[in-house]
């Protein structure tokens, strides 16, 4: 396959198929460095602190949080929307970029999909503990009961959320695992026969062999799952935005919410992918696979979605003014210039202004600089949800019930605990699973490897001649020829 030299190579270091396996699968069977143990122990500690705070919340009650009569949703729902948003980049990279045949997705899709699953686990935690009595979670399910049966309310976006989040988690998990099976088989076949790793990866890889028929079905299923995931990912954050948009509260009751939330989700998700992938490529020595070209592409997506979010901020203000609604206008002015002005301007600065540096190609291609910007994106998108939720609630229609909200140590510990959970799961994944889709990367080697891509046409033909079987070994295939 010849590709124009304009396309930059996506795999560097003149890799062979064998080297790709060695680079990606090799470390899984080798010993982990002490740094991995120390980091994982630390994140696990933070995670358990979060679990302790959750236990305390459930034992004592929601009164341990900073919520009050006016601000009934704050930190927990902010964290919920934040984590769901983080998850969206994984599905975008794996599904939408697959449908658009973007080859650069191959290096990052596996880790981004894993991130999606872990982020949805973190997200799911918050609405459950916010219920106060999480053991009654099954009330959300349309189960026959002794009250009639009195069924769940299908008019409620909170119920739609239950269906959307659980479907999203299930489909993401299946999509991720479908891609993992062949790579786990590679790990299995490299492990020493009879060893524990061999047995474990045999079970995990379901007996995959890589026959022509298996691969044919694999490709068909991947494409269908991608086709299903694409509208799914858009629907999930749209439904999350309905939690706000279908209410009649000024600041929430806006039709722009679904596209605005989806763009924000992709933006924050790419921020998190950049944060994790820049560390991963550094620590696991994957610079030949996650190249500057990848970071460049992700930085571009980040900037574009950041501007879409910024456009939504401006539209909200315009509509608030144009609607002529007194309450609507007040809420938006209060957002930018009220007591929570700092959170609003932190959001605008981090999401709209700071990513503008990505206009400069040199900056898009300096990993540590992009890393710092990605941290700002994470902070900015967390604040966006905080701004939407808290500033719309804290000053309601009666001035006598205006209240300020501040989180307690319990809420902050649960938030840091969710980061601990996310990072612990990611570290375990990076240690025991192939972080890069090995089989898929091999399949693009001949179109995107640096020994093939970016060549002139003449050089490509020469290369092809060198790798093709010698002409003597391949006699002309003439069916009339007498068979030997």
């Amino acid at each position: 396959m010849y590709e124009s030299p304009i396309r930059e190579p996506l795999i560097l270091g003149r890799k062979t198929y064998k080297q790709i396996t060695d680079d990606i699968v090799g470390p899984i069977l080798g010993p982990a460095s002490w740094k991995w143990y120390v980091t994982t122990a630390f994140t696990a500690l933070v995670m358990f602190a979060g679990f302790a705070a959750i236990a305390y919340t459930i034992w004592v009650g929601i009164g341990t949080w900073g919520l009050n009569k006016t601000v009934g949703w704050a930190f927990d729902i902010t964290n919920f929307v934040f984590w769901i948003g983080i998850g969206h980049a994984g599905t975008l990279i794996s599904a939408i970029l697959l449908l658009f045949r973007q080859r650069w997705r191959m290096a990052i899709n596996r880790a981004a999909e894993a991130m999606t699953i872990f982020a949805v686990i973190c997200a799911g935690l918050f609405p459950i503990i916010h219920m106060g009595r999480p053991w009654l979670l099954f009330w959300f399910l349309p189960l026959p009961n002794t009250h009639g049966s009195l069924w769940v309310n299908f008019n409620s976006p909170l119920l739609w959320d239950v269906f959307a989040i659980s479907t999203y988690f299930t489909i993401s998990l299946l999509f991720w695992y479908t891609g993992l099976i062949p790579d786990l088989a590679t790990v299995r076949d490299r492990a020493k026969p009879g060893s524990f790793a061999r047995i474990a990866y045999s079970i995990l890889s379901f007996g995959w062999r890589g026959t022509a028929k298996e691969w044919q079905r694999f490709e068909a299923v991947s494409l269908v799952l991608a086709g299903l995931s694409t509208p799914l990912v858009l629907s999930v954050h749209s439904i999350v935005s309905f939690d706000f948009a279908t209410s009649i509260l000024p600041g929430w009751h806006t039709t722009i919410f679904p596209p605005y939330f989806v763009a924000g989700a992709i933006f924050s998700g790419f921020g998190m992918v950049l944060t994790l992938m820049i560390i991963t490529r550094e620590v696991m020595n994957l610079k030949d696979y996650i190249t500057l070209e990848h970071i460049d592409a992700m930085a571009k997506v980040t900037m574009v979605t950041g501007m879409m979010v910024g456009f939504a901020y401006a539209t909200e203000f315009f509509i608030a003014w144009y609607s002529g609604s007194y309450w609507e206008r007040y809420i938006f002015l209060n957002r930018a210039f009220g007591p929570y002005w700092w959170s609003y301007w932190a959001m605008v600065t981090c999401n709209l202004f700071i990513p503008q540096v990505f206009w400069v190609k040199k900056l898009r291609r300096s990993p540590w600089f992009v890393f710092i910007i990605s941290i700002f994106v994470n902070i900015g998108m967390w604040f966006e949800r905080f701004v939407i939720i808290v500033t719309s609630l804290h000053r309601d229609f009666l001035t006598s019930s205006w209240r300020m909200y501040a989180p307690t140590w319990v809420e902050v510990t649960i938030l840091t605990g969710s980061f601990g959970l996310f990072l612990t799961l990611y570290l375990l994944f990076a240690r025991y699973f192939p972080v890069i889709a090995t089989a898929e990367t091999k399949s693009i080697l001949k179109t995107s490897g640096d020994q093939y891509a970016g060549l002139s046409y003449e050089a490509y033909l020469a290369q092809k001649k060198a790798t093709a079987p010698a002409p003597a070994a391949m006699p002309a295939l003439n069916p009339d020829e007498p068979k030997s």
């Binding site: 009639g148 269906f163 490709e219 439904i239 399949s443 068979k483």
Partner: protein, 168 residues
């Protein structure tokens, strides 16, 4: 325990022309195993198109019907609840759950069918011809012992780097 003659290739383009050649010489190919999906291999081997995408459509339609009938039964037939005077058959409100269940049914049942037709499940013994077939080697396996001599010759001719007999 069956015996197979296997030829190993180190390149996907070599494999494609070799498989084409072997096929044209009339040697029955038992199986071709590759470390990654090789495009065009299924046409050369004459594999039929997978019907899994069609199955996914049926599963999805099943999900749509389940979701709609569930909601209409619960909300309109079994116990019509008056919530703010809203309709007992609020069709637009049913769309999100219907969509999600369509995707859920299609995805989950498709995944299970995929595992079933490939005979993949935890605990399945991997009948691997050569440990390098999931790494960097492309394996062509011949089961018919009568054709082994000819197959061996063809393997050599088409540039296989290794030829061996394996027992699975």
């Amino acid at each position: 325990m069956a015996k197979y003659l296997i030829g190993l290739y180190d390149d996907d383009e070599k494999l494609l022309s070799a498989v084409e050649h072997i096929k044209r010489e009339g040697v029955p190919i038992h199986e071709v195993c590759t470390p990654f999906p090789v495009h065009g291999l299924d046409t050369i081997l004459g594999l039929k198109k997978s019907r899994l995408p069609d199955a996914a459509f049926v599963y999805g339609a099943l999900g749509t019907l389940t979701a709609l009938s569930m909601q209409i039964y619960m909300y309109t037939i079994d116990w019509p609840t008056n919530i703010g005077g809203k309709s007992h058959l609020p069709f637009p409100s049913f769309i999100p759950v219907t969509f999600e269940l369509t995707v859920l049914f299609a995805g989950v049942l498709l995944f299970l069918s995929y595992l079933a037709v490939n005979r993949l499940y935890p605990g399945q013994r991997a009948r691997v011809f050569h440990p390098r077939q999931t790494d960097d080697a492309f394996v062509v396996a011949i089961a018919d012992t009568a054709a082994w001599d000819k197959a061996k010759e063809l393997f050599q001719k088409t540039g296989a780097f290794e030829i061996q007999v394996v027992e699975l």
